[in-house]
Symmetry: C2
DNA sequence: ACTCGATTCAAACGATTGATTGAAACTTTT
DNA sequence: AAAAGTTTCAATCAATCGTTTGAATCGAGT
């Protein structure tokens, strides 16, 4: 029967896998490095998880699932209030869920995992989209539609929703560029930066949606 | 001395490398597949280019360099005219340079190469940033500053510029998601789609910049 | 103390990778 | 036509990958 030590080894491998997969993606990560970081034998991954791919699928699900402290955007969006207020909550939670490290991890951002998954999609992506991303998208697009009005064409709703998502994902999508073009000042307060970033995205997006609404009324 | 046949083999390898690297990125691409597609021996890459890495560096430079038919955004932005007009030209050229296939290639978008490079930056990225990305960024941020006014803080200029870049890169950053959430209709006219996409990004961004300007005047 | 299932470990396996080698084929020069 | 230089090729190298193996180790139940 699995005792504490066994669970500890499995847990240690899982935690190491989260960090390594986040840093390197599925293909570039090696089970040897994961086991080395976990202080375990190379065979431990296959013994406890079946294969590297199954371990990755579990990690992916864990990273995307969110938590109470770091909920997914849809879960943090209230059902009542003005569309602007709800969008503000959505964007703030979305930004945090992408850039804040997973609970109990120093070095695992969903954004990093996500980027590797976009560059090299794994079979597990379908499940992630259905389970986690589609609900978030649904909340966002419903909100955008409320703000654009019922006569807005579907394409415009998706366009504006995409513009919001794009801005949130910006830093994770081009991190290596910003670090070269405009390196972040050392000792920066990450929480304050994320709040300011979310504020900017919200303000910029409200202006963008307003412009889209105007162009709609004009035609 | 290199004759036509030699040039042909080198050229064929280069063209195959462009496609393979764009589709898989540097690490996942293999010299065996490149040579196979080129109808050449495995040793040809090292003979003609020195190493897989040097070949990749040449491919990267080619993809980012742009062309007369597909210029980089900065090169397509006129020096005169209203900031709005110049931003429109910038965004249109930017969108095309990211999503339109390189001249003479059916399956090489800068966006695909870029995405892999962001997920797994190569040593060649520094040169690409200095040579190609920094000039584009300079033109964009100068434009944004013109529209925000001289009293706008640097952070706001970078924020709004980033919001524009983010929207343009959206589809390349989350392609696997959109294809699952909202598959593109088959037989879609890519040129028309890109024009419409650029129009949306421009309109949305003008609204966003206007909102940022207003928030500036208010404080 | 002994047994038995669960876990860990060093060692190795087969496959694949980028790179190298030296001879063969080819082109150009003499 | 012989020589020199360039290019191609099959074969192979060392390294690394995920996975497997079988024995050693451990811990709880009898």
């Amino acid at each position: 029967m699995p005792d504490d030590n066994a669970l500890n080894t499995k847990e240690k491998i899982f935690r190491a896998a989260v960090s390594v997969f986040a840093a390197k993606g599925f293909a570039a990560a090696t089970v040897r490095e994961i086991c080395s970081r976990a202080g375990a034998n190379v065979a431990a991954v296959n013994y406890h998880f079946g294969s590297k791919e199954k371990l990755y699928a579990e990690v992916l699900d864990f990273v995307f699932a969110g938590s109470e402290a770091l909920p997914r955007a849809a879960a943090a969006t209230p059902a009542v209030g003005s569309p602007e207020e709800r969008l503000a909550a959505f964007v703030r939670a979305f930004v945090r869920s992408v850039y804040q490290s997973c609970e109990g991890f120093d070095d695992c951002e969903l954004g990093a995992v996500f980027l590797h998954e976009m560059a090299n999609p794994s079979p597990a992506l379908d499940h992630i989209v259905d389970r986690y991303i589609r609900p978030d998208a649904r909340v966002l697009f419903t909100l955008v539609r409320e703000m654009l009005g019922p006569e807005a064409p579907e394409d415009l709703v998706w366009g504006c929703g995409g513009s919001i998502v794009a801005q949130v994902l910006y830093h994770c999508a081009i991190g290596p560029i910003t670090s070269r073009l405009r390196p972040a000042p050392e000792g920066m307060d990450m929480d304050a930066f994320l709040d300011g970033f979310a504020d900017h995205v919200l303000r910029f997006s409200l202006g963008g949606i307003e412009a889209a609404r105007r162009s709609l009324a004009r035609s």
